[in-house]
Amino acid sequence: MDNSSKYLHPEFETLSREGIEKLQLERLQATVRHCMNSPFYKKRFEEIGLKPEDIKTLDDVRKIPFTTKQDLRDTYPFGIASVPLRDCVRLHSSSGTTGNPTVILHTQKDLDAWADAVARCLWMVGLRPEDVFQNSSGYGMFTGGLGFQYGAERLGMLTVPAAAGNTLRQIKFIKDFGTTAVHAIPSYVTHMHDVMVEQGVEPRRDTKLRTLIIGAEPHSEEQRRRIEEMMGVKAYNSFGMSEMCGPGVGFECQEQNGLHFWEDYYIVEIVDPQTLEPVPDGEVGELVLTTLNREAMPLLRYRTRDLTRILGRTCPCGRNHVRIDRMRGRSDDMIVLRGVNIFPIQIEKILMQFPELSSNYLITLSTDRDNDNMTVEVEIADLFTDDFARLQELNVKVTAALKAEILLKPRVKLVPKGSLPVSEGKAVRVVDNRKVYQ
């Protein structure tokens, strides 16, 4: 690798639009042929009489039916795979709290391609083998752990799998190991900075930090600038999702003007979530991704449910891979809070287990000193006690049960019957006051 090169994979990164589209068509055709090994896709293609030969142009991708999260659940665990299980070497899975978990399988080739994609992203923001990369993200099933680990190693950096939490130790590592780059969710960076201040650590003076990778949690441009200012670094936005391997799908370049989605890996579509028809560039719609070089489990036209828009298809950095705006919300009711995906139904399920509570509740998301928090207000049914200690006990129990389910501790507020707004027809369950969506 030539350290002075701007690109890690110039043969792909600097392709012209025509070059990208030619490559995409070849890879799409190969992917669709390969998908005929998947019991799920074979059946789906036969149902509508679609044959791999029917894909003649890139626009023909629209002949292919969408794949949804529900499809992944219905075929749990291995029903979408396009290779025999013995060819797979890794599995990642969601927690499955709202039904069957979603499972993603990888062959060795998939893991290599994934590591290459992450390495390409990290190189793009200026990281080189001399850098020390500390990954302060959860490991295990959460793809931000192993995804960045393998990508950073692929690039050749000294990589510290610090994982999430234990902030004092994180800071010690940053100082002692000369960490130059950290990957973490934005709210954790803010927390880390608070602890640094308490410990008398001034990032500019006492650390070698110069790059932060932040993602997995919605954040605004304003939050990014504040993080850059407090830590004395450049902070780059990262987009990934476990269905598409994990991190490495989209990443900001040094222009910090939208995330480049790697079009040699994915076909990017933005569609109207209602009509499912494509929307013009610049208009907000749902992000739909088709994998182009996945072996174990290609996904065709996967509906991500993330709402965003295309900013452009050229960039002063020399990469013509499509630029996507930061995510602007969801087309379903999923909440992304501090890197955790939560569906209101999970919260409802827990609240229903308490006979003392009524079924009316309201989830409010708010930003408090750069930290995103969740408040769950729930109406109590008939007053079962008039003893504050027992009400407090109930509050503690509900909080603990919610934390066990959604892995975050919400603030629980008991409110009198009839005090929460009930809208016409469908009740409003989530109010999002976070800065990012304003």
Binding site: E379, I380, A381, D382, L383, F384, T385, D386, D387, F388, A389, L391, Q392, K413, L414, V415, P416, K417, G418, S419
Partner: protein, 142 residues
Amino acid sequence: MTIHQISVFVQNQTGSVITVLNVLKEAGIQIIASTIADTQEYGIYRIICSEPSRALNVLKQAGLSVQMMDVFAVELDNRPGCAAEALKVLADAGVSLNYLYSFLLGGKGILIFRTNDTEKARELMCLNRLSFLSEDKLNQLN
């Protein structure tokens, strides 16, 4: 020995007590004593009133979170030290109070309270021959 008290769960916000009072007013129910205890987020409005069973029903129908509780109602002479004497009986036996409030009615001091051990409290107060306000008497006085 015990009388009925109505407890209403109310939000810490302007006007929530008036909602309760209006329901009782419309039902023609007379409040004899009431008190609010609050936390940062919510309060419990405790009420001694005429016709507590009917009060419970009308408040429930109004959609409020409400409960009828049995509370001790000790009747004391209206002179300094009486309350201390009465409560010492409980404290000496290790029974503690969850809450307490008091008011004057017909020249007598009335002490309303709940303890952490209702049965033991009942026994102690019988042994010590404390005098109690009955619901009948409460309604007569009214």
